[in-house]
């Protein structure tokens, strides 16, 4: 048996699984987007570009913009919280870090839906958070905390922050903290050395974390559906609506394709950035001067 054959043997199971469970369904969705829609529901025989063309509807622009906004803000929010957490986890003792990581993982053992309903109870007009805020005169008694974009954002950050913390912590635990001492030795303040040395040092972890949160939130459906109101509908909700309410599979498939394109975009940007080192080019140019 040659090495190539051996390698094939090892790859085959995962390749089969990937083909059966990912490539084929993706192709089915892809094909459905080109089916002719029925007048009221379902689809008629034959092919058409109608579903794809309908994506240029102005209403979809708003939907896409809102999806990007919510998902982008959730990603930024997760990163802003996860970077200091990742830093601290790497600085404290290994034992304390382990204990804290268990605390982050623990909610995952509870059902996702239960956690979201728990948030609904907390944010409810008669929920604890509302009561505390009103008591502290921080919120108007008649305001609603639930069913708006902020609530969606809050629950999204809560749900997906571990996806940002873990890759950042993984990068930070491999980070050589003597580099911070080296930066301070060269005159940098603590803040400056954090931004000039630590952040670039864990940039891979930050990118991975950002991608994980962005991909997870861009297709979100449950959170905006249960926590959000009319003004926080995202692509995921629209797809669900097209399937369950309109029974319009071609439109749903076209939207799904759009989502895939949106997810692939940041992936490609990341690949592009990691293959491109501006500092190196800059120094090279300087060298030629």
């Amino acid at each position: 048996m040659t090495i190539t054959n051996k390698e094939w043997m090892i790859t085959l199971p995962s390749l089969t699984a990937l083909t059966v469970f990912f490539v084929v369904p993706a192709l089915i969705i892809f094909a459905y987007a080109f089916r002719t829609e029925g007048t009221f529901a379902g689809e008629e025989p034959g092919w058409s570009l109608h579903a794809i063309r309908s994506l240029s509807d102005v209403n979809y622009y708003f939907l896409i913009a809102r999806t990007f906004l919510i998902s982008g803000l959730a990603t930024i929010g997760c990163l802003l919280l996860a970077i200091p957490v990742g830093y601290q986890l790497a600085v404290i003792s290994k034992r304390a870090a382990k204990a804290l990581i268990i605390l982050f993982v623990l909610p995952f053992w509870t059902s996702f839906l239960i956690r979201i309903f728990a948030w609904k109870i907390l944010l409810h007009p008669e929920g604890y958070i509302k009561q505390i805020l009103v008591f502290l005169h921080l919120a108007d008694p008649h305001s609603t905390l639930l069913y708006n974009q902020t609530a969606v954002l809050l629950v999204m950050i809560y749900t997906y922050i571990p996806f940002a913390i873990f890759p950042i912590y993984a990068a930070a635990s491999k980070f050589n903290f003597q580099l911070i001492e080296a930066a301070m030795d060269l005159g940098a303040s603590q803040t400056k050395s954090f931004f000039k040395v630590f952040i670039p040092g864990v940039s891979k972890g930050i990118w991975t974390g950002a991608l994980m949160v962005f991909i997870a939130t861009i297709g979100a459906y449950v959170i905006p559906d249960l926590i959000g109101g009319v003004n926080s509908e995202m692509i995921g909700n629209k797809i669900a609506g097209r399937i369950f309410v309109d029974q319009d599979l071609p439109q749903a498939s076209a939207l799904s394709l759009l989502l895939v394109a949106i997810v692939l975009l940041p992936l490609m940007i990341t690949t592009f950035i990691s293959s491109f080192r501006p500092k190196r080019i800059e120094a090279e140019a300087r060298n030629k001067e």
């Binding site: 580099l179 080296a182 120094a283």
Partner: protein, 387 residues
């Protein structure tokens, strides 16, 4: 402490979770010196360096720089830069940017920065590698970049924390010469931490030997090697033979200069008495080995292996020579010299013989051969028995 002292450590004590790392250490360093902190791992030398760099604060004691206290000034405010043990180059920045880091922090103008970095690159002979990333250059090159990065802010003091530990032997010797050259060119104070005695002996103006958080001895390399003040220093720096003995009498040859030692299962050994004038000499805080000898005192005699002569023929009698006969137990040929272990009345004595002549012309020494050993009374030295 005089006004010319550049750096002064005054009664520095530092404890880490209960255990003392530095115990009431005081000494001073002169401006422009190449000063080495030498000792085994855990002796506190790196802690001293970190205190000086500003990464740690002492539990008690003060550090002065040109007479001003700097004990509580943070690392980024001190005119002191460090070359770290594993270089700690910024992996995301090119060699050029690594060297320019200090200037960028100081918001140095572009043209000036360009000039300074180019000059540094020239000093470390790395002008052709400016655009490379740290992970694509060799250990010795990283070393030089780390030195350039530390020197670019024109510090008054450069700290080097075991900078050669990660390099192979040949490169280490080359880097040592490079370090010496750079020290001569920039003319600032270098403080060099090492556990390698040959490195310290090779480049230092003065060496401080530390052990278990205390200062053992400060002196020039020759002083440290030839007149160690304690058995620890004698043993840590170079090889030596120790003999426990007692002073039997003042020697009749010259009762002031020499004394005779009684050593178990051995004939008496004559040794130069350098402790006689200790009372008249000014006592400095570091010279802990100051002690005066009386008849019956227990002492340790130390004699370096290379000071002992070895031959087949019995040498001419000399009153100041200690002469013994023994059998060769081990021979280890090292090229430029040979190590012998010679059994003299049941004791092993280390002897090193340098080869200044073509060795194949000689009849080689063989195992179990009976030979004569001797050394001049001036070459041995007496040390205090430490409890």
């Amino acid at each position: 402490m005089t006004i010319t002292d550049h750096i002064v450590f005054k009664n520095i004590t530092k404890k880490y979770s209960g255990s003392t790392t530095l115990n009431d250490v005081s000494f001073s360093i002169k401006k422009g010196e190449f000063f080495s902190l030498l000792g085994p791992s855990g002796c506190g030398k790196t802690t001293l360096l970190r205190l000086l760099a500003g990464f740690e604060k002492p539990d008690s004691g003060t550090i002065l720089l040109d007479g001003n206290e700097i004990t509580h000034i943070t690392a980024n405010q001190r005119p002191i830069n460090t070359v770290f043990q594993n270089y700690s180059l910024f992996p995301h920045l090119s060699i050029w940017e690594n060297i320019a880091f200090g200037l960028r922090i100081a918001k140095c103008p572009r043209d000036e920065m360009q000039d300074k970095v180019e000059k540094m690159l020239k000093l470390i002979q790395m002008s052709d590698h400016a655009h490379k990333m740290p992970d694509s250059i060799s250990g010795g090159q990283k070393q030089r970049v780390a030195i350039a990065r530390a020197l670019i802010n024109q510090p008054q003091i450069l700290l080097l924390d075991e900078p050669l530990a990660a390099l192979d032997l040949k490169l280490r010797q080359k880097m040592l010469i490079d370090l010496d050259r750079i020290h001569d060119e920039v003319g600032i104070t270098f403080i060099f931490v090492t556990h390698d005695q040959t490195e310290a002996l090779g480049v230092s103006d003065r060496i401080a030997v530390l052990q278990k958080g205390s200062l053992e001895q400060i002196g020039t390399p020759v002083e440290i090697y030839e007149t160690p003040k304690s058995t620890f220093v004698a043993d840590f720096i170079g090889d030596t033979n120790f003999f426990n003995g007692t002073i039997v009498q003042q020697s009749e040859i010259s009762p002031v200069d020499y004394c005779l030692l009684d050593i178990a299962q051995f004939s008496p050994i004559l040794c130069f008495n350098d402790k006689k004038s200790i009372e008249t000499a000014p006592k400095s805080a570091v010279e802990t080995a100051a002690f005066k000898l009386k008849q019956g005192d227990a002492v340790i005699l130390s004699i370096r292996p290379e000071k002992i002569q070895i031959s087949r023929e019995k040498p001419q009698k000399n009153n100041l020579h200690n002469l013994f006969s023994g059998t060769i137990e081990t021979i280890v040929y090292k090229g430029d010299h040979t190590h012998f272990e010679i059994n003299v009345s049941g004791r092993k004595i280390l002897v090193t013989r340098q080869h200044r002549h073509f060795l194949l012309d000689e009849v080689p020494f063989t195992w179990d051969e009976t030979v004569w050993l001797w050394w001049h009374a001036d070459d041995g030295f007496m040390l205090e028995v430490t409890p």
